[in-house]
Symmetry: C2
């Protein structure tokens, strides 16, 4: 006779025996007590308490074919933007039966494809993807897969399933308009890590300036490196050393803006008088700088939180809601770095 170890914990069968019911009823009780008679509900509830029973998610996953894992794909761990999103996700998932499984695409589409099919193979309960530019192959794979998919941090009319984010083009446009209103005429831009979202900001910057007849391609300072304050300083130095003149700089990330600002300080260029500076994301330190730095505020925490909330609705609510596009917006936080006197 083969004997195996067992976990030592109480199982559904122990509960069934204790409550003098079938194990099936205990299973049902766990899913939805109301399908049972009140009598059974009481017995089972009592037995569960007495035995301190906790269901085993592994067994549940194996039997049901579905895991309780919500997969999350982000392109980077270093970027504060994603820490904030993860915080929102974790907060929203807390207290639910679901677990978060994070994977890092490193801004690489091939890696993203690989991870998506890996996740799909594990039958996750839902998937959260960063951005809206997944490969055709991944889109096909995910459509009609039966589990919710949320794309975050960007905007599109054609989501795989749901999308929560905001328009990076519009945000860039609002920055340019603000700078013009403040009297800045020649606006340079500094960008790093040209991912989808930065690229869209750049597109918004170009479109808006073209419409204002103020576009000058020699005022774009781009780098493929990861965004950082040091890179911001370097790019700002390049810009200032260049031939073209400009009186404001739109930095597509806050750390770049901070670096650009420091470069101005090092050169004795007065901000905002001789140089306007705008960042993107409104990290906490932008408000602390002196002069304080104008930025686009994005609600990363809320994006993460809502992503999970929509998923839960979608799962619990049964049939999918009609709404699939959620624009969470952004706001321009005007500070000293663009307040020319």
């Amino acid at each position: 006779m083969v004997k195996r170890q067992g976990s030592g914990r109480a199982t559904i069968n122990d509960v069934a025996r204790q409550a003098e019911v079938g194990s099936t009823s205990v299973s049902r009780f766990l899913r939805d007590p109301s399908v049972l008679s009140v009598k059974l509900q009481k017995k089972i509830s009592k037995a569960i308490d007495e035995l301190n029973y906790i269901p085993d998610p592994k067994a549940r996953a194996l039997a049901s074919g579905y895991s309780n894992v919500i997969g999350v794909l982000i392109p980077s761990f270093s970027n504060i933007v994603f820490s904030d999103i993860l915080r929102g996700i974790h907060d929203a998932v807390e207290g639910t039966a679901y677990q978060i499984q994070i994977a890092n695409t490193r801004y690489d589409t091939a890696e993203e494809d690989r991870l998506i099919s890996l996740f799909v193979g594990q039958k996750p309960r839902a998937l959260i993807l960063t951005g809206v530019d997944q490969s055709i192959r991944s889109r096909e794979l995910l459509k009609e897969r039966g589990f919710p998919v949320v794309q975050i941090l960007d905007k599109t009319d054609d989501p795989i399933d749901m999308v929560i984010g905001f328009s990076h083009e519009q945000a860039a446009t609002s920055v340019i308009q603000h700078l013009f209103e403040r009297g800045y005429k020649k606006i340079a831009c500094i960008a790093a890590r040209m991912d989808e979202r930065v690229t869209r900001r750049l597109a918004g910057y170009r479109d808006c300036l073209r419409k204002l007849n103020a576009y000058d391609s020699s005022l774009e300072f781009l780098s493929a490196e990861a965004s950082s304050a040091q890179l911001g300083r370097k790019l700002m130095a390049d810009a200032l050393d260049g031939k073209s003149d400009f009186d404001a700089v739109f930095c597509f990330n806050d750390d770049l803006a901070l670096g650009a600002f420091f470069e101005c300080q090092a050169r004795g260029i007065s901000v905002p008088q001789d140089m306007g500076i705008v960042g993107f994301n409104d990290l906490e330190m932008m408000a602390a700088a002196y002069p304080s730095l104008t930025s686009i505020r994005t609600n990363r925490y809320e994006i993460g939180k809502q992503a999970v909330e929509r998923i839960l609705q979608s799962i619990e609510g049964g049939h999918r809601k009609n709404e699939r596009l959620f624009d969470i917006g952004f706001s321009l936080i005007e500070r000293q770095s663009t307040q020319r006197k």
Copy 2:
């Protein structure tokens, strides 16, 4: 006859049939191919390729009693320090069979206790904990549990199992010594979120100054709030508005240092001439600031990476190694903010 859906994927039995071997051999092949004859190895390997077989971790976890989950407890998602650690952890775990499961203690010991027993109930493959000040109850629970436990980011002689980190007291001491060498005599400190590690830095600061006969309790500016540049500015303002005089400030976090620096700028206080500033952690932007800011460099990424590597060694290597204390050190990065002429 009861028929169930199945996942549609190839199972271990499909592989066994295809390779014309017993399913046990396939299972063995997955664990350690070398225990099988070369003939079987080839057949199974071929069948796995042909069927594109991927083992199901849920079934594996259920049957073996052990999940492939490495649990990670961190006190915060907002702090860059932990993003870096998580990056190291994720990088190190990539390509292995293990999964990371993150939980947030929110700097709360009761919550930490709760999460630890939750994790223990799930039989994780290993656990990574932040700091060395777990409750007695949790320590007892984890000792002799049979899976590796790594405490990170601090130092102790009495770890639960293994510990990877550095001495915060020593780091603080080296800062004070540096400031004295640079001619600073009255050294204030600014601290936020008084968690274990910050508290130890404070202890190091006090001890060292007492030994130098330069301790002045009126020069400590502490706050229970979360660390931020804005808080750094506020605390620095309080300090400067206070009655006591000081010529340098040791900020226990880099964002505080940045805020303190901006407050000096706002008041026209010259750094480093009239005020020396030192931070802690050496975030990237410290090097970009003008003047650049002195800080203690800590290798967070490496801590996370090594934590996983030690765990893997411990699991694969079978019996535990004798080494359990790993001091990863720190280094003082001297920059302009403490270079008095």
